[in-house]
């Protein structure tokens, strides 16, 4: 789960990272009031979870409260990569002498929390790593004892910080690390970390991505989820315990298992169609879950056919088939359904499905082809 900048900064500030406190605003009037309270030139920043907001006009300087109000009016309602701006962060404008990048990631290869640092900040770190790998430090921390003082010094020297800034860097590096561990993050980054002309070291922008598996033990962080920026169908799916991601196609997919769900999407594409979603219904495929999954898929009006692919394995195929037929009867809207069930009692399952007028398929390739054909018959291409 990605956290908004203002949430990420809230967490970093709690762990002692030096930054300029901002004020959240949701209307131009609130932005004006925030600028008045701050009492100096401010930057009005769109709070969205997509990148590239600066280029899209979502970050603007304002010299006076009146200007802050005007800039806020421009930014609120702006659509950045499909996301409508609803929230702003108003922060004191800082003079920048130099920008750095400082981040922590959970590195899968070294199996360690790893510091990523660069003296070329303010830009995409992936870009720097590609074009000038020598400018990026990757420092895996000990997985059992964590960040040590010599690690902090190594990063500070790599960044080429002046002696007085090295002293200020310690609390920032340690604060970032503590925040990462305390919130079970996958990623925590400060980009840019800046020095001001006066020599101060400040975090100007921050991003934290949390490990979804750890969220159950962090109800406070779960409460920071920005529901306004999520697909309503994805919210409904999460509440039903279903793994669901909305895509742009017209063929809904319902599958058990994440790898098989991705494969099913890939085969829909290979058969000339476009998948409308990723959906992993998990184990069992009970009637109520299946019904919830169907409702979520059909909530998208673009969906013209549904492909159900269940590898029953140990579960009985005929039970799954009955569940699908039962769930289908509860639906408001229905579209052609191609159902493929493999596993114990697959033959009995196919009988039940055929009696309910569902299209069946033996292989996954055949199921994908039939789903694409069914969608075409309903209403043309994707």
């Amino acid at each position: 789960m990605k956290l908004q900048e203002y949430r990420s900064k809230e967490i970093l500030a709690r762990h002692g990272v030096a930054l300029l406190e901002g004020i959240v605003a949701t209307t131009p009037a609130e932005a004006r009031a925030a600028a008045e309270r701050i009492g100096s030139p401010v930057v009005v920043k769109a709070q969205v979870l997509v990148g590239g907001r600066g280029k899209a006009g979502g970050v603007k300087l304002a010299a006076t409260p009146a200007e802050a109000e005007a800039r806020a009016a421009e930014i609120i309602g702006l659509v950045i990569k499909g996301v409508t701006v609803r929230t702003l962060l108003v922060v004191p404008a800082a003079e920048i002498a130099k920008e750095y990048y400082l981040g922590l990631i959970l590195d899968r290869a070294s199996k360690a929390v790893t510091v990523i640092a660069s003296a070329d900040g303010g830009v995409e770190i992936e870009e720097t790593a590609k074009t000038n790998p020598g400018a990026v430090l990757r420092l895996p921390l000990h997985p059992l004892i964590g960040l040590q003082e010599h690690n902090v010094r190594r990063v500070a020297f790599f960044l080429g910080l002046a002696p007085e800034q090295r002293k200020a860097f310690g609390p920032i590096m340690r604060g970032l690390y503590d925040a990462f561990i305390a919130s079970d993050a996958d990623l925590a980054e400060i980009n840019p970390l800046v020095t001001t002309p006066g020599g101060e070291l400040l975090a100007l922008d921050a991003k934290i991505v949390l490990d979804d598996s750890a969220l159950p033990r962090h109800p406070d962080l779960e409460a920071m989820r920005d529901l306004a920026e999520e697909e309503p169908s994805e919210i409904a799916a999460r509440e039903a315990g279903i793994n669901f991601i909305k895509l742009d196609g017209n063929i809904g997919c319902m599958v058990n298992g994440a790898g098989l769900a991705m494969t099913t999407m890939d085969l829909v594409k290979l058969a000339g169609g476009e998948p409308a979603n990723f959906l992993d219904i998990g184990g069992g495929a009970k009637a109520d879950r299946v019904a919830a999954a169907f409702a979520i898929i059909l909530d998208d009006p673009r969906v013209q056919a549904i492909l159900v692919n269940i590898f029953g394995g140990i579960t009985r195929g005929d039970e799954v088939a009955r569940g699908i037929v039962e769930a289908r009867a509860t639906l408001q809207r229905t579209v052609p359904m191609v159902v493929r069930i493999v596993g114990t009692n697959a033959v009995e399952a196919a009988d039940i499905l055929r009696q309910a007028n569902l299209i069946t398929a033996d292989s996954l390739d055949e199921a994908a082809a039939k789903a694409v054909a069914a969608a075409l018959a309903v209403g043309g291409g994707a």
């Binding site: 959970l106 899968r108 290869a109 199996k111 360690a112 929390v113 995409e124 992936e126 997985p143 059992l144 561990i181 079970d184 996958d186 490990d211 979804d212 598996s213 750890a214 033990r217 793994n243 991601i245 895509l247 599958v255 058990n256 298992g257 994440a258 790898g259 098989l260 769900a261 991705m262 494969t263 999407m265 890939d266 085969l267 829909v268 594409k269 290979l270 998948p275 990723f278 992993d280 590898f311 394995g313 140990i314 493999v342 596993g343 114990t344 292989s363 996954l364 390739d365």
Partner: protein, 292 residues
């Protein structure tokens, strides 16, 4: 021969009295897996699976009484890291953790402690392993297999079953099928399993099933180009996955342009490994490579 598990395996099941644990232990026992002990704290002295398996309070006790040499873990995510550490402390050299949803930071410590002890961990968030006709540990359905010369390693569950079924239907049997798990931090890598298959005399060919996220497949491809002389075929799931989204498995995420199915396919093909467009093509690719 086979890898990881066989008829000499003496299996302990941690969480044997839970719903999942009991269900799958029954299936393992029916397959012929020698389950010698179960473990659930507070239920020591009882028995599980209709009196066929004694239950112990601690892994240490189970090992001392039964000589268990492998463990399969079904305990819920909050308790699973401790369960792995307990098994390792009791001297179990091979651990399968089926549990899904373990926080990645919890796994860091476990990974490094187990590694220092020389314990082989498969998973977490994995379906386990089946050595066909010998033993099945985990949740892979037993009846999809057929004994034969192909070893299979995968990051997935039901997708693995799909490929195994396709191979079995085509008359291509397996030595061992193992799922290493879909989490970002797992105990064993593709390379670990590939090197075991490479050294297993009965395994004549290897199938690798990857998915988006991380660079495990790319590393494995480089390893295969260097070390593996057996015919191989591969499949990579997630060509249509959008970047930045976690596709069910915690590890299945394309980040910063890295970890795409395309990059993995190119790496595998550069290593001379044929990559299927659909799981159903795997048997043909194996046949074309001379596997019978």
């Amino acid at each position: 021969m086979s890898i990881l598990v066989n008829s000499a395996t003496r299996l302990l099941v941690q969480g044997i009295t839970g719903r999942e644990g009991e269900f799958h232990s029954r299936a393992m026992l029916e397959y012929g897996t020698p389950i010698v002990a179960g473990m659930t704290p507070g239920k020591g002295g009882q028995s599980a699976l209709d009196g066929r398996v004694p239950v112990y309070d601690t892994v240490a006790e189970a090992v001392a009484e039964t000589g268990a040499n492998a463990s399969c873990i079904f305990v819920p995510a909050p308790a699973a890291p401790d369960a792995m550490l307990e098994a390792a402390d009791a001297g179990i050299p091979l651990i399968f953790c089926i549990t899904e949803g373990i926080p990645a930071l919890d796994m860091l410590g476990v990974y490094h402690v187990l590694r220092a002890k020389g314990v082989r961990l498969i998973g977490p968030n994995c379906p386990g392993a089946t050595s066909v006709g010998e033993a099945k540990v985990g949740i892979i359905p037993g009846d999809i297999h057929r004994r034969g010369p192909v070893g299979l390693v995968s990051r997935s569950g039901t997708l693995t079953y799909e490929v195994v079924q396709a191979m079995t239907d085509a008359g291509l049997g397996q030595t061992t099928c193992v799922g290493i798990g879909g989490d970002p931090i797992v105990g064993s890598s593709f390379i670990d399993m590939l090197s075991m298959f490479n050294e297993d005399p009965e395994t004549e060919a290897i199938v690798m099933i990857g998915e988006i996220g991380g660079d495990e497949e790319e590393r494995a491809a480089a390893y295969c180009a260097r070390e593996v002389r057996k015919p191989m075929a591969a499949f990579v799931a997630g060509r249509t996955a959008p970047p930045g989204r976690r596709m069910g498995h915690a590890g299945a995420i394309i980040s910063g342009g890295a970890g795409t199915a395309e990059s993995k396919r190119l790496a595998l093909e550069a290593a001379g490994i044929r990559v299927a467009d659909s799981p159903s093509q795997i048997p043909d690719l194996l046949r074309a490579a001379g596997v019978r």
